[in-house]
């Protein structure tokens, strides 16, 4: 009998001793829910995944988190649609048991998944979704390390005012992002630029022929055109505006950093010239030690300058690793506390999340710059910063008169 008890105890001991290292080695999963197929901006999603993977590799190379556990990324495609995003988030939160989800790009998707984040108590990070309402709802599990649309619209209104463009047309898509741009730009024009006229045109995101909309805008004789497309519509607007003779005679400002990607010139050729666009990163910017190391590694690996989405995807993963270590647990409540209490080294500054007013809730914003391509095939790194004045590296260039 005693012999049997001894065998049973030894067996139990053996099982426990084998299980403890196995538990210690159990990876901590972080979800990357991002657009990797149309109709989402799949190029943006790919860059975010690239950055997130490099972040996980870096954390794992220095020993992982929580005393040796590896970070494992679980990548899900949201296709830029709320329904696929919601399904992806559910899978990440329940089946994969991700401790947090990064990579959100489309505002419509982020708006849908942040409700689930609250329900499953899993922090979700907006990597490039900028609609005001995302952080304005003051949800506990929603974080953002990207600009917000009110700031974007204030910036392009200031830019138009500084350039003396009194008639501005904004063409954008019928998404949360597009509708938000229209609302915020109207507010900004009304408060900051009285006397100036703003014409807004919203089109269905699936539409490919924008000729009537652009002819209407051309006939209105604007001084400047704001391109509020995301992904394919950005290129369709740029191409077709040039075809109907609207641009480059009418200066254009693209609402986000799509032109910084290598595909820009391939898709537009000379039709992309003279476009100005809003960016959050420029290769001439001074970065943190972490950001600089990432940039070097990225350039060595991909033979090109990193894109903002990659920098932000990377920063969110390493930030989460820091927060997990601070929390000393992968429990999401503990992680939430650590995220709110900590200061984290990002790619270009220290990131912290506070409970600010309005949309500045658990929100950290990178800088915003306007840069311009002044010749066809111009490398992103050579494009000059034309706004704001204190960061200018060159002057805005008007297209020659036809």
């Amino acid at each position: 009998m005693i012999e049997r008890i001894r065998v049973a105890l030894l067996t139990a001991l053996l099982i426990v001793s084998l299980a403890v290292p196995a538990l210690a080695q159990k990876p901590v999963k972080i979800g990357v829910l991002t657009p990797l197929s149309p109709p989402g901006d799949a190029a943006a999603g790919q860059f975010i995944v690239r950055g997130a993977k490099m972040g996980a590799e870096e954390v794992n190379a220095r020993g992982g988190v929580l005393g040796g556990r590896k970070i494992e990324l679980v990548i899900e495609d949201d296709s830029g649609t709320p329904e696929k995003g919601a399904a992806g988030f559910r899978k990440l939160a329940t089946q994969d048991q991700a401790v947090a989800v990064v990579g959100q790009f489309h505002s419509s998707v982020m708006t849908a998944v942040q409700v689930l984040a609250e329900q499953f108590k899993v922090p979700v990070f907006s990597t490039q979704a900028s609609a005001r309402q995302i952080t304005e709802k003051h949800l506990n599990f929603t974080f953002r390390t990207h600009v917000i649309d009110p700031d974007r619209c204030v910036m392009w209104t200031r830019w138009a005012k500084e350039r003396g463009f009194k008639r501005v047309a904004l063409i954008t898509e019928n998404t949360d992002y597009g509708v938000g741009l229209v609302d915020e730009t109207k507010k900004a024009f009304a408060s900051m630029y009285p006397g100036a006229e703003l014409k807004t045109v919203i089109f269905d995101r699936a539409v490919v022929d924008l000729t009537p909309q652009l002819l209407e805008i051309k006939n209105w004789k604007p001084d400047a055109l704001f391109n509020g497309g995301i992904g394919t519509p950005t290129y369709l607007i740029a191409k077709q505006a040039w075809d109907v003779g609207l641009t480059p005679a009418v200066p254009t400002l693209i609402s986000y950093d799509a032109p910084s990607r290598p595909e820009y010139w391939k898709n537009l050729g000379e039709k992309g010239n003279y476009a100005s666009f809003i960016v959050y990163y420029h290769p001439t910017m001074r970065l943190t030690g972490r950001g600089e190391a990432f940039r070097k590694k990225y350039m060595a690996e991909f033979k090109e300058d990193p894109i903002y989405g990659a920098l932000n995807g990377y920063a969110q993963v390493v930030l989460l690793a820091d927060a997990l270590n601070a929390a000393k647990s992968d429990n999401t409540d503990a992680l939430l506390k650590a995220l709110l209490a900590g200061k984290f080294e990002g790619w270009n500054g220290t990131i912290s999340f506070t409970h600010g007013e309005g949309p500045y809730w658990q929100q950290w914003s990178p800088p915003m710059l306007v840069i311009q391509y002044a010749k066809p095939e111009m490398p992103f790194a050579d494009a000059k910063i034309i706004y704001p004045a204190e960061l200018k590296t060159g002057d805005w260039v008007a297209a020659p008169k036809p």
Binding site: F203, E216, K266
Partner: protein
């Protein structure tokens, strides 16, 4: 109302309507012969645009883009023959009881398959072949050279299609099959071969539209969605099974969208075609040139 803008909108609507009629013609042609709706037409449009891009970039170069169009059509024609032979023919010879349901399920499955294959093989990003021509002014309308080329290409293809259908033996056989599948077999014609040919030609027309519009509307896995949408709108307006109806329906849709854009707002351009469609369905359910089905 600004007369210049009105004329520009109408011309723009006419141009795009004629080009979209190529899609509608493909759908209606397949329906006429095989009595089935091909829900994956947009994906053949998409494949046409990918082949066009690949041939221009890797084979013939941007200056010889016009060589790529027949190659794109040819490649999709062959693909259509294969699909018809192995996936759709069982509708007629395999004892399938519910042919309509079979065709619907099969072509929707093909739609999903091709979209995902495009993502796997070509990546999710968009591509653009170099422009076919410099922008031109058509009357009062400044349009891209690509769209002008697409218009001319469409008119040529519509003309060729008309000649083949009206003036050749095979065209007569196809018309016969459209009228009576059983009757044509009593005249010794292999209707299953005609099915293959019709499917191949129908999807090649969609591929031509995709190839011609590739520089303007870009090349990406979902680029065929809107043209399929328009194609179906056109055949309902023009009348399912009517070749003339697809061309007239295309032009009418383009003009209605243009007029709606002028008098209401360009932002709702795609709504106006549906309003026309609803009105037509109420007062003339068979479409402008469609005929009521007769049975004995």
């Amino acid at each position: 109302m600004d007369a210049l803008l009105l004329s520009q909108y109408v011309l723009s609507g006419l141009v795009i309507g004629v080009i979209y009629s190529l899609m509608a013609l493909g759908i209606t042609f397949i329906y006429s012969i095989m009595k089935m709706i091909n829900w994956s037409m947009g994906e053949f449009y998409m494949i046409g645009s990918y082949v066009q891009y690949a041939v221009i970039v890797n084979l013939v170069g941007p200056r010889h883009w016009y060589l790529a169009v027949p190659l794109a059509m040819g490649a999709v024609f062959v693909l259509g023959l294969i699909i018809q032979r192995f996936l759709l023919r069982p509708m007629f010879v395999g004892g399938v009881e519910r042919r309509d349901e079979y065709a619907t399920v099969m072509t929707i499955a093909l739609m999903v398959l091709f979209r995902n294959l495009a993502i796997v093989l070509g990546g999710p990003n968009q591509y653009a072949p170099p422009d076919y021509a410099r922008p031109v002014t058509l009357g009062t309308l400044p349009i891209s050279g690509n769209r002008f080329v697409a218009l001319i290409g469409t008119l040529v293809l519509l003309g060729l299609f008309y000649l083949v259908i009206k003036k050749t033996w095979i065209g007569r056989a196809l018309r016969g099959a459209a009228q009576n599948r059983v009757g044509i077999q009593t005249a010794g014609i292999d209707v299953l071969r005609l099915d293959m040919l019709a499917f191949g030609v129908g999807v090649a027309l969609a591929a031509a539209a995709g190839a011609l519009l590739a520089p303007d509307f870009l090349v990406y896995p979902e680029n065929g969605a809107i043209s399929t949408f328009k194609g179906f709108e056109i055949i309902v307006i023009g009348g399912l099974g009517s070749i003339l109806g697809s061309v007239v329906g295309g032009v009418l849709l383009g003009v209605i969208e243009a007029l709606g854009s002028v008098f209401i707002s360009a932002a709702y351009k795609d709504l106006y075609g549906f309003l026309l469609l609803i009105v037509l369905l109420v007062f003339r359910p068979t479409g402008l040139f469609g005929e009521r089905e007769r049975s004995v």
